[in-house]
Symmetry: C2
Subunit: 333 residues, 2 copies
């Protein structure tokens, strides 16, 4: 790895921002200095980093002088407002929002899949993909290499921490209210999330799909370099605190085989197979919580389409789906 860098985290007090700090520490990233940035409301808060305490500073357009890499995770609005000025100050922006993902001159990177695309970032901005997309592709990329991916049909089981700390609080509060006979009003989600599932993640678009559902299509094409890839997705919020699960039917160009599919993951970084139905082994969200690796299981020959597999992919969307992936992009630089 190259010489130590001056890093900044924008949105340092959010769930993903906090996880970015942890990832930098745990992966022993060569940090010369770490600047934590957030809104004025959060300025002054202190967070530990490598045995020291770092005070959160207010994010301004002058925050990026001398910063080499800025990890943004404060929503699309903040990225659009401050990303370009950060890049103009000479720092590389790694942005976790959807603000720039589909821009042609912004690489969209999963380091295990398309690391080379991170080399050219004409605007000084590199985008971190959508969390469900990262997790699905971590499960699909080795199969794509083996069999040639043609289409994806996916149904997601998405954890509440995908909505940040407020999603966690909402689930906790509703569970408590139900246990004590209290009342509550859904705030973060359109319906009660405790002991319920909600087939809406992000806003609806004109064709009836939500934005979240179209991300796997658009981002998947860009990351895999497959402009003809077809994807149809149904995104569902479930009362799980952390880790997204995705039920996938994937069709391939070439004939598939379950054993060959399992073997395709051998030696692949960031993904492991947990798939032994005879011994009751398959991945669940609790398995990947706080873990770097995505897990793949329930690999079966699809019973409808030729050259198709059904599989079940699980990953920690705060970690590999967001913070870890951003830090891994920084490691590529």
């Amino acid at each position: 790895m190259s010489e130590p860098k001056n890093l900044a985290i924008v949105g340092a007090t959010g769930a993903v921002g906090e996880e970015m700090r942890l990832c930098l520490e745990q992966r022993d990233f060569p940090v010369k200095s770490l600047t934590l940035l957030a809104s004025a409301r959060s300025a002054g808060k202190r967070f530990p980093f490598r045995g020291e305490e770092i005070e959160v500073k207010e994010l301004t357009h002058d925050s990026f002088e001398g910063i080499d890499i800025a990890l943004f995770s404060a929503g699309g609005g903040i990225s659009k407002e401050f990303g370009p000025s950060a890049a103009a100050a000479g720092c590389v922006v790694i942005d976790n929002s959807s603000a720039f993902r589909m821009d042609e001159d912004v690489p969209l990177v999963v380091p295990e899949i398309n690391p080379d695309t991170a080399r050219t970032a004409p605007r000084g901005i590199i985008a971190n993909p959508n969390c469900s997309t990262i997790i699905a592709l971590m499960g699909l990329a080795p199969l794509h290499e083996a069999f040639g991916l043609r289409s994806i049909i996916a149904s997601t089981y998405q954890a509440v921490s995908g909505s940040g700390a407020q999603g966690i609080v909402e689930l906790e509060e509703q569970v408590n209210a139900i246990a004590t006979g209290g009342t509550f009003e859904p705030k973060v989600y359109p319906r009660q999330i405790a002991f319920n599932v909600i087939p809406q993640v992000d806003a609806f678009t004109d064709n009836g799909y939500t934005k979240e559902e179209l991300k796997m299509l658009n981002e998947g094409r860009k990351i895999l370099g497959l402009p003809e890839l077809k994807v149809s997705c149904t995104c569902v919020r479930v009362p799980v605190y952390r880790s997204h699960s995705i039920s996938i039917t994937a069709q391939f160009e070439r004939p598939v085989d379950v054993d060959a599919a399992r073997a395709a993951y051998a030696g692949k970084a960031g993904v492991a197979v947990k798939d032994d139905p005879a011994n009751g082994q398959f991945p669940v969200p609790l398995d990947t919580t706080g873990q770097d690796d995505c897990l793949v299981g329930r690999i079966r020959k699809n019973l409808v389409f030729k050259n198709a597999l059904d599989l079940w992919v699980v990953g920690d969307q705060v970690r590999k789906g967001a913070a870890l992936n951003a830090v891994q992009i920084a490691e590529l630089l």
Copy 2:
């Protein structure tokens, strides 16, 4: 409706047995007498029915003298042991287990879909289909009529009451233990179900699919009379108390259209459309809990396959997925 009948419920103290009693009452079924049968352990318990109390009797091979219709919901073992003797005693058996569903001389009936098949029951046994299959088909049958069903890809979100009262208790106990910092050991499910999802419902078969996943294939073909129907299914248990949800991609013989799909449900009994994304309207499990009708929403043109739709179907699996469907079969007789 014909003259009042002598009815028996086998498994009267279980979740579905209790719901059968409620359905008979609520639907004003012409009951001449109601006999509640269960294991010796439950004999003597008393349940209300139309203002009276009925004492549960022990199930024996002599229990069916004078009974016209017996609703069985006490597991496949009990059905296999007592179903034939009940039929031999001249009573029609409506069986909620999987014991006889695939037998050629046993009709498998969803009254809204294939009521005519209930007319001929050479062995005196009529089978009630699997809960997820009933709910999926309630959503698909009107579309099949409109466009000609060719294949189904489904991912389920199945409530714990699908495992009976013990599934409900397990979720409650785990949620309580987590809230109070206590410990617990999963008993009903292979993994923790609270704040988790488990991609295993029923036992695994040799091809990696679970029995539950293959039911939608085999039972779907039989109910719809489509021996060539292709179905690939992933069944997942979620921490919801009641009502199954199913994310479905269905391919049809003829061109599809979202408006025509919604219109296909007009006037259909037992199923309603709740599908207005612009106004945030879609079905969730809480909507159908304790309700007769299945709800369909999130109807979209599938983005992968020609002539295909994505949709989201929700239904109370204790009710329409089991008890209500059995009582509706009895009403056909």
